[in-house]
Symmetry: C2
Subunit: 568 residues, 2 copies
Amino acid sequence: METLSPHNILVMLLSLGVLLAAARILGELAQRFRQPAVLGELLAGVLLGPTILGSLAPELNLFLFPLTGPNAIALDTIATLAIILFLMVAGIEVDLSTIWKQGNKGFKVGLTSIFLPFAMGFAFAWFFPGFMGKQAHASPLIFALFLAIGISISALPIIAKTLMDMDLYRSDLGMVVVSAAIFNDLVGWMIFAMILGLIGGNSTHGMPVIITIAMTLTFTAMMLTLGRQAIHKALPFVQAYTKWPGGELSFAIILALLGAALCEWIGIHAMFGAFLVGAALGDSAHLRERTRFTIDHFVSYIFAPVFFASIGLKVNFILNFDFKLVFTITGLAIICKVSSAFFGARWGKMPLREAWAVGFSMVSVGAMGIIVGLLAMDAGIIEEKLFVALVIMAMTTSMISGPMIRIILRYRQNLSVADMLASRYFIHRLEATSPREAIGEMLESPCRTMGLEKNLIEAAVWERELSLSTGIGKGLALPHARIEGLKQAVIVVGISKNGIDFDAPDDKLAHVIFLILTPLSDAGAQLAIASEIAGIFRNETMLEKSLHIKNFTDFMALLRTAPRGWSH
Amino acid sequence: METLSPHNILVMLLSLGVLLAAARILGELAQRFRQPAVLGELLAGVLLGPTILGSLAPELNLFLFPLTGPNAIALDTIATLAIILFLMVAGIEVDLSTIWKQGNKGFKVGLTSIFLPFAMGFAFAWFFPGFMGKQAHASPLIFALFLAIGISISALPIIAKTLMDMDLYRSDLGMVVVSAAIFNDLVGWMIFAMILGLIGGNSTHGMPVIITIAMTLTFTAMMLTLGRQAIHKALPFVQAYTKWPGGELSFAIILALLGAALCEWIGIHAMFGAFLVGAALGDSAHLRERTRFTIDHFVSYIFAPVFFASIGLKVNFILNFDFKLVFTITGLAIICKVSSAFFGARWGKMPLREAWAVGFSMVSVGAMGIIVGLLAMDAGIIEEKLFVALVIMAMTTSMISGPMIRIILRYRQNLSVADMLASRYFIHRLEATSPREAIGEMLESPCRTMGLEKNLIEAAVWERELSLSTGIGKGLALPHARIEGLKQAVIVVGISKNGIDFDAPDDKLAHVIFLILTPLSDAGAQLAIASEIAGIFRNETMLEKSLHIKNFTDFMALLRTAPRGWSH
């Protein structure tokens, strides 16, 4: 039996560890700069792939990521499983009832987003084949069809990830986009299967294209009706007669694997099977939260980053860079895709601003475009420079999507309390013994740093305190004020070993004091912050733990990992 | 870049789905018969591998599990990752403080369990090389060394899984065995590295054996001291400055992958690196429960079953079966390993019964023996029939381990309440309106089925009810009695829509009634059952949900997946 040699195992573990580490670190950094994590993850692959590491240290690059042999297969195996499991999670997150509700809009956006770019891409490739990088001996028709599909297909996983990263996935807008992307993808893959049929048969086995299409439609319809009901009925049996939580977890993963296998057999990409299984699973009220979380976390933070990073490994982006081609393809794709989805959304009677947001949500070509490009290159239809242009187009469209949506929707990521803390606004041992003293002590550092008039602010906080004491009980006090001219909310934390009497309803002394300053213009900020803090400290061990922390980092760690009062 | 073809992807997904499904179903069945799940998982591989499926439908077997090519590599990649992550979980579960406490005994057991079987195996192979399956041209010394190490090495993962399946892993006995197995494995792999050195260099790279040994010792010592402290210090930073729970999860997995890579580079098996990283991680009080659970569940119920099933795929057990050889090797291994670990435990002053339990815990040769055998076969030192005998010996030793420990320790798996329920003792709509009527109605079915005298039992339950009413509040009542001659506890469940007045302290009517009959001889059973039920129903949504279930299966599903009052 052919197995990995010790050297293969070494390379596999090292490359996986390094790839995951780079993807997660850059993903976290991207989020720090309010970008979707997927951007950082893609960039990790570009850094470790032929483009950067391959230029600086080609031997190390080929040692970690050999192009052929067992290690290439091993990495592709992991990436393939990763994308399938990621699509399963995307499916579980889909809210089918919202999709039905948004189905009409989603259908219209899906329809325009595939056919308009297809027509425009076809026209360009047909009239300028040489400039667009056609191989001399390739058929102009096939070439034009390939380019057209490469531009019109959408990247469901990247679209889903971008929306998830912005907490828009389950919104109405998100569900219009997701249902459009599902439609786009299904139709796109069917057209793609037809084109592959034209150049000599489907890649899996010699099934006529019409049968592939019929089976795809049948499978989709079945999974969303009978399959959905069967899963809903089966879940209580699995829960009742297997060991919890293992039975339900295995059941979900096994279904996803088999659904993916079925779609691969039908001739469309395996990931759709996993997506549909996920959608059917997630729709059942019987699926337990714990199973959802276990799969979601393991997949989102381990498998997905590996997959997205692995995309960047596939090509040298500098060597095969043709500026004019990249510019043309990227511009063409952005204009075609944004405008067509925009028209679809307007056709669906969406407001102007939302229609633009839909346009920029559908712009991501992502991995789909790369897969189409790869197959076209393998089939000798396009040159390497066009492949690189397709990849850069796919990445660029994925990169502009998030920021553009953010600008259009004037979207502000909800900062959590932990995001607003800073070590310089943290007093580990408050010396104050009265509320008045505590407020003065805690205002010291922010007023100095930001050049604020301390007396005025202290007066404002104290006035509020006198009108309504802010000791909310359970050892917590939240003195606060709205301050004119403040740009953004400031939170100062003070911890008092002995406790300070903030006149709480339960008569307990306050040990953890959050002093909250919010801009006068932002009416809701104070309440949002206060209720998040109260939620965190509803868990009674939190106060005890706060008194035992050693430094600011410990306190941050405690807040971030606290079980929230309202979640599981 | 070499990638999986659509056909490869289809086979990979299908084989993985089928393998996982078979492993999990047989694993659940094994547990139903009070055997460790790992037995069923191993058997799944034997069924789907060359032995059974390969004989009945060889084409299907080779379609699913080809011996060469990308799919063989893909499956081996997944199995390799699986064993590494499983060892990481085993490491997280290790309680280092207990290991230090049990270290002396563990050291003695480890020492005898490796050297005595080694000496005996060597002697046998040296004096009867032909009978034992030596290749004609292989050196007698090398052959004897290989067989000796094949018999003396222990399977840390199977030992850990067997102990975990019986909830013995974190007991004192479990920790003696685990520390002995760690010692055995580390020394075993070092000896193995030396033997490989004798026949032409270490398999990874040409590192002298002495350096491998020195590095192994250094790495082990470092991980358990400096590495442990570094991880403990790093965890709050990861929690404080990355997105929860993703940062901590990725951090743990990345460390395990890199630790595994380092051990593979040193020249011992990658899994030890993951094990040691896991031990260091699990030792930190900063590692959050949620991360522990996410990793544990995904690995134990997805990765580990795939690994253990994949072992059974490797060989045809019937074709290469030589009864005398199998019998000799297996007998030799069992006698050598059990007696040597027994002597070690007695040397460590353990009581007789525990010493035998240690002996049978250390008997598992498992995957380690198979890996040694594979390498020996690849190096042309042993014949196929000896390889098969080694595999059967490895499996047999793994199979007898659990049952023998159970017999020796007179171990009874603690049945959960859900395990004791049966649909015939479940009344979905109680008609009774008083406690007396309810008890009568609920005793109907068990008395009929078991041929008990209903009047007597009803009188016993009612007498108990009169002396102390069993309505415990929150809509729950637990009438009960200890019955002479009853073989095992019986629980009858009745659900009353309208509620019955069991005179609860909170004056609420009882809607869910558990009637509990326990044997007169089993004094603790009643209290254990009652407190488990009370724990489950401490969560206030449970009563509400119980009133909305549709049938027995729904009720079972509810009980099994209920958040327990005392766990997270």
